[in-house]
């Protein structure tokens, strides 16, 4: 009898231990993201490399020291970040400090605490920051996040290709006729003058320069069903279809296509933001320059976008989180981010660190001009949806398979 009993006991013990192990395993995952002590905060931010993670951890240390807190850094790749943030939001378990891109601010507005009334307690002066990006991070008067970087969309061009073609370098005041003439001359064989991206970012600066319109009106409504937009879209489509200065679009969904084609030397011009400049210069086998948007009917205009850090409405210690949030974009953090080339600082006084720390003084004239000519990039709460549909329907439209009207109809249906 005794051996029988002990066998059963053994079995029971074994099973119980396994169950306990499984349970503790389940618990471990969720408790690690929570805040244990009163000065512990968590911060969720996207990143693309270990070097970037190290840089953000350094910023977390600066902010922790400034606010008397310990900040745990959590990260995900850009695309995963938004999926993860969405599922965290759905389950009500976000980090205390959450990063957000200005284009997605309306979509995630409910997630954030309004920092506006807290600014003086946080020791933040609004006028220290670029007003355009600060406005872009406000939704219905609520300041969702403090910006750390921003930038206007500009023309990236292949200096080497321009030189070889004997073309003058695009400078302030160059026109859309100059742009088209250069693009024609630069298109030979398998190399094109321009990459006509299928994303709104590639087209909105042209709509701004031609007609002074964005895809979203000043009162926050998606409106591309206008004569102005029809004109710009037809002009843009013609770059591929009739002028043939841009390659047919390879696929929807390849957001990086434009950058890759430009960097590979397959397209001599491309629309991009300063956040890509340092990487482009380091990666490309040719010299990269930036030019202002070519002057159209409304001048040389563009839009600017950026990102910032906000406090989750679910954060337990709102005041401490707000102080830490201010620390993430304080003078030290912004100087460090600018100098190391991680971000074009949203703090205007620290922008010189970006130029000087990265040998980009030659870009300053164009940057200053375009920052002055930029409006904040306006989006709607359904912008991801709009962006997706835009991307999917722009491909057949710009490839000449469908017309501009059907494109407008499909995108406008997402309003």
């Amino acid at each position: 009898m005794a051996p029988h009993l002990s066998r059963r006991q053994l079995l029971g013990l074994g099973g119980g231990a396994a169950a306990a192990l499984a349970l503790s395993g389940c618990g471990g995952g969720s408790s690690s993201s929570g805040s244990a002590s009163s000065t512990d905060l968590s911060w969720f931010m996207w990143s693309a490399s270990t070097a970037e993670v190290d840089a953000w951890k350094k910023v977390a240390d600066i902010a922790g020291e400034a606010s008397g807190s310990t900040i745990t850094f959590q990260t995900a790749a850009w695309n995963d970040y938004w999926t993860k943030l969405t599922s965290q939001a759905a389950s009500g378990q976000t980090a205390d400090l959450v990063s957000v891109q200005s284009l997605r601010a309306p979509q995630f507005a409910q997630l954030f605490t309004d920092l506006g009334p807290k600014l003086s307690d946080m020791g933040v002066t609004e006028s220290d920051f670029d007003s355009g990006i600060l406005d872009a991070l406000k939704v219905d008067g609520k300041l969702l996040a403090l910006p750390y970087d921003f930038g206007p969309l500009v023309v990236f061009y292949n200096k080497t290709a321009f030189q070889e073609a004997g073309l003058p370098m695009p400078a302030i005041g160059w026109t859309q006729d100059d742009f088209l003439a250069a693009a024609k001359k630069l298109t030979t064989g398998n190399t094109y003058g321009f990459f006509a991206g299928a994303v709104p970012d590639s087209i909105i600066p042209f709509a701004m320069s031609q007609h002074g319109v964005q895809a979203v009106t000043a009162d926050g409504k998606l409106d591309i069903d206008t004569d102005e937009w029809r004109d710009t879209l037809n002009w843009y489509r013609d770059l591929v279809v009739s002028e043939k200065v841009a390659s047919p679009l390879p696929a929807a969904g390849s957001q990086a296509a434009a950058t890759n084609q430009f960097l590979a030397g397959n397209a001599a011009m491309n629309i991009d933001g300063p956040w890509s400049l340092i990487n482009a210069k380091a990666t490309a086998s040719f010299e990269v320059g930036i030019a202002p948007m070519p002057v159209g009917g409304s001048g040389s205009k563009t839009v600017s976008a950026g990102s910032g850090f906000g406090v989750s409405a679910k954060a337990a210690n709102q005041d401490l989180a707000a102080k830490a949030c201010a620390g993430l974009v304080n003078v030290d953090s912004e100087t460090y981010l600018g100098q190391s080339g991680r971000a074009f600082p949203a703090r205007t006084a620290q922008q010189s660190a970006w130029y000087e720390g990265n040998g980009l003084q030659d870009a300053q004239e164009v940057m200053d001009a375009m920052i002055a000519a930029a409006e904040g990039y306006r989006t709607t709460a359904k912008w991801t949806q709009v962006n997706n549909e835009w991307n999917k329907y722009a491909v057949p439209c710009f490839n000449g398979d469908t017309d501009v009207d059907s494109f407008i109809q499909q995108v406008q249906a997402q309003a």
Partner: protein, 312 residues
């Protein structure tokens, strides 16, 4: 050939249950051992399934409060929603192209490497490699192959002097291109299943058929294939289920475009839930997909009586 679960279940029923009493005490140990698995099942399978069913009857945004709307999501799917019908149709076309091509290719290659040809083990490994490499990586590489001025286009220009179609940028070519990539990725698994089944066919039967005057083709279709039918059934069921759930290939290759020409049900589910923030609507899509897969699998199980032979 292995016996199926169905046969064994019948056996188990016929076996008299062990006498109760003497082994009563094992119940506690058994439950203790079952507990970890049961916890996992409840937490990660049963709960999400029930939760998604509940959610499908709500307008459930990611941020904000859910509202009960009854069958509202389902009604919207089948009446006013412009994308769902397209996604359903795209998925159906994908399945109809992918499943037969996958089965024919994997069966063909399995038969080809089945005779004692030199290095057939290496062929098996070679053909299995795509199935074990990450699909995302494969999709990215195929994206580069398909792109204008990519490898396929260059070969076309060299051989024929004309450009290849803009595979992923054309509404006509995008879905076949996605199917082709999927077949390349997926045939290795079925090939392994078929290869093992072919090895299990007793040579004495084919030899007997040969003596009776049956040629290789007749031998294959009248002797080998019926003997392989359980494997064929298994492969068809699993391939069909997985092909209805196709997501990664269009997600990476085309983003569901151009237009909605490669938007599949799961792709649309993902977009609805995680990009458009409509979790209830996405759950409704999941349940429609579940019912479709369940129905088709049930039909396959009913149909197997006609063509699947479990006797040796």
């Amino acid at each position: 050939m292995a016996l199926t679960g169905a046969v064994r279940v019948t056996d188990a029923v016929e076996t008299p249950a062990p006498a109760r009493g003497s082994k009563k005490g094992d119940g506690r140990a058994a439950s203790a051992f079952l507990l970890p698995g049961a916890i996992g099942f409840v937490a990660f399978t049963a709960f999400p399934i029930v939760a998604s069913l509940v959610m499908s009857f709500f307008d459930w945004p990611v941020l904000g409060d859910p509202t009960f709307i009854g069958f509202g999501n389902f009604v919207e799917l089948f009446t006013t929603d412009p994308v769902f019908t397209t996604a359903l149709l795209n998925t159906a076309v994908f399945v109809l192209l992918y499943v037969p091509v996958n089965i024919v290719v994997s069966m063909g290659l399995a038969v080809w490497i089945s005779p004692r040809i030199v290095g057939r083990r290496y062929y098996r490994v070679l053909f299995f490699v795509p199935a074990v490499t990450p699909m995302v990586g494969n999709a990215v590489v195929f994206g580069l192959l398909y792109t204008p001025r990519g490898l396929i286009d260059s070969v076309f220009q060299t051989l024929f002097g004309v450009s290849a179609p803009n595979f992923l940028g054309s509404s006509t070519w995008a879905l076949p291109a996605v199917v082709l990539m999927s077949v390349w990725q997926g045939f290795g698994y079925n090939l392994l299943v078929f290869s093992a089944a072919l090895d299990a066919v007793p040579p004495s039967l084919t030899e007997a058929a040969a003596i009776d005057g049956a040629g290789p083709v007749r031998q294959f279709f009248s002797v080998v294939l019926p003997l392989m039918s359980p494997s064929l059934f298994f492969a068809t069921v699993l391939t069909l289920i997985s092909s209805f759930q196709v997501f990664v290939q269009p997600y990476i290759l085309t983003g569901g475009g151009p237009g909605n020409s490669t938007t599949t049900l799961v792709m649309y589910l993902y977009q609805s839930g995680f990009q458009n923030f409509r979790l209830g609507f996405a759950s409704a899509i999941a349940w429609v997909l579940f019912v479709i897969i369940m129905g088709l699998t049930a039909i396959q199980f009913l149909g197997q009586k006609k063509w699947v032979h479990y006797d040796q």
